[in-house]
């Protein structure tokens, strides 16, 4: 038999290696994009509209479009996702309907994003008549994000100790007062971080916005939710495949901006989580 001390070392080395293999591509990709993209970043690039058939100028409309779209997605998906999570965790008993909803949520999370795109095209753009617009795009992204938010919210809600609920009820509070005053405030950090992570994934998606909101070229900012908008993921696709002769500087610069936006969202989620964990005392 192998010396247990040696086995221990071998196993730890293997686990460490596996971790390194996972992290390495992330670091390499980020570093590569950063090095290639940084020379393209300038104030003009961030604030100007695309010019000279997108071979010059900036990408401001796409940045603004992405921010609008993400915010609109948040408006639709966070309340719906959180309410559904509260219902499932706090109100729904163990019955067939609840299990059906749970299975649906799991499956919804596994649907390929292009399917969401076509669903959004069919329902929001054509059937409900919103046309390609921020509204249609945000609703499509919201449908895609809701399972993520529900799952994260349910985890946060169930992590609030049951005794708090009992105490609150024993003091004469109704169930809703207990949820409103005790459960939700204590679950909020987990819900917020989960929501940000879900939204940051939505912000980088291309397929769901392809037919529902993304504009090929719009040299101005959207005025209302019924406007189409340029958005970064689609703009990157356009620059890479649809417009010949765009300099790599602009292409990588655009990628860097998108990755930067998403990283900012992810880091703020991580920061919030760490901050609240420090305050958490149970």
């Amino acid at each position: 038999m192998l010396d247990p001390r040696k086995t221990e070392k071998i196993m730890f080395t293997l686990f460490g290696l596996a971790t390194a293999i996972v992290i390495l591509p992330v670091i390499i990709i980020c570093a590569f994009i950063f090095i290639q993209g940084l020379p393209g970043i300038s104030l003009q690039f961030l604030l100007d509209i695309p010019r000279h058939g997108m071979k010059g100028g900036g990408i401001a409309p796409a940045i603004v479009g992405t921010i609008y779209l993400t915010l609109a997605t948040a408006v639709f998906s966070i309340p719906l996702g959180v309410f559904a999570a509260v219902y499932l965790t706090e109100y729904a008993g163990e019955h067939f309907l609840k299990r059906l909803i749970e299975i649906s949520i799991v499956n919804l999370a596994g649907v390929p994003s292009i399917v969401f795109g076509l669903f959004g095209l069919g329902l929001f753009v054509i059937f409900l008549g919103f046309g390609p617009s921020i509204l249609a795009g945000a609703l499509t992204l919201a449908v895609m994000t809701i399972p993520v938010i529900i799952t994260a919210s349910r985890e946060a809600l169930t992590s609030v100790p049951k005794t708090y609920r009992e105490v609150s009820l024993s003091l004469g509070a109704t169930k809703w007062q207990t949820i409103r005053h005790i459960v939700l405030p204590n679950a909020a950090p987990g819900i917020i971080t989960g929501a940000i992570l879900g939204l940051s994934r939505a912000a980088g998606e291309t397929a769901p916005i392809l037919f529902t909101v993304a504009a090929f070229y719009l040299p101005y900012f959207p005025n209302s939710v019924f406007d189409q908008a340029m958005v970064l993921p689609y703009h990157i696709y356009v620059l890479a495949t649809q417009v010949p002769g765009v300099s790599p500087k602009i292409q990588y610069g655009t990628v860097l901006v998108l990755v930067g936006l998403i990283l900012i969202m992810n880091f703020s989620a991580a920061y919030l989580r760490a901050k609240f964990r420090k305050r958490k005392t149970w």
Binding site: G93, E94, P161, T163, Y164, E166, V167, S168, L169, S170, L171, G172, A173, T174, Q177, H181, I182, N186, K280, T281, W282
Partner: protein, 251 residues
């Protein structure tokens, strides 16, 4: 001696399990009544019938009657909010909310719609004074409650109940996580509180029942075996099973 709570032919089932069997009991007003018995005998279950906390458990079925001041508790029409305001509960582990000391005490008031600062402050001071905490904590009412010692936390939980001006206070093994000195202090507190409230305490600790209660009830396997003046129960129990338990032959 007037009876605050009257329990008649109370039966409780968890699914198929018959947890309380034909329990009859009168709980006197403004005294300390303790319920003792080995683990799983149904003491806590009985206690939780009095403020209907068993409703939270799925698959519970209750038959029989509990009357508090001649008002039926077990009826489906019972208003749980006013019942629980009238019958407060202190739990096994000190469980303040992760809020400030002040907000913990006034939680029940805020929930019932009182938000006037002066009223809240007055009630907080009165309630904390009643549990002998006010002098220690008056300068740090906005500190987090979870920073207090366990003894203080448990007293705070009692103050949180008192703030609702209940008539009955249920204590479910309130000292099981406290050290012996803190335990004695809570027992002393119970002696003060019984002047204004009817107290029902579930305890594992026979000495605690002997020290702190006026009436003692012994339960075994879901049945109420014997109930009487504490000194009688501990010196001259009528039932052989009570004698076996209090003399330490089992349990």
């Amino acid at each position: 001696m007037s009876e605050k709570i009257e329990i008649k032919k109370l039966n409780l089932f968890y699914g198929d399990f018959h947890a309380l069997i034909d329990v009859n009991l009168g709980i006197p007003e403004k005294r300390v009544t303790s319920i003792i018995g080995p683990s799983g005998c149904g003491k806590s279950t009985l206690l939780r019938c009095l403020n209907r906390m068993n409703d939270l458990v799925e698959g519970v079925r209750v038959t029989g009657s509990i009357k508090i001041d001649n008002i039926e508790v077990c009826s489906p029409n019972t208003d749980l909010i006013s019942l629980r305001q009238k019958v407060g509960m202190v739990f096994q582990r000190p469980n303040p909310f992760p809020l400030s000391i002040f907000e913990n005490v006034v939680y029940g008031l805020r929930i019932s719609g009182t938000n006037k600062r002066s009223v809240l402050e007055e009630v907080a001071e009165k309630s904390l004074s009643e549990v002998l905490l006010f002098d220690d904590l008056k300068d740090k009412l906005s500190d987090p409650a979870l920073g207090l010692t366990l003894e203080q936390q448990q007293k705070l939980c009692i103050a949180r109940v008192i703030a609702m001006r209940p008539e009955v206070i249920l204590l479910d093994e309130p000292c099981s996580t406290l050290d012996p000195i803190a335990t004695l202090k809570i027992e002393d507190l119970m002696q003060i509180l019984k002047k204004d409230y009817s107290l029902v305490i579930v305890t594992h600790n026979m000495q605690q029942a002997a020290r702190a209660s006026d009436t003692t009830c012994y339960m075994l396997l879901g049945e109420m075996i014997e109930c009487g003046e504490t000194k009688d129960i501990f010196t001259a129990p009528k039932d052989k099973r009570t004698e076996d338990y209090i003399s330490g032959r089992f349990g």
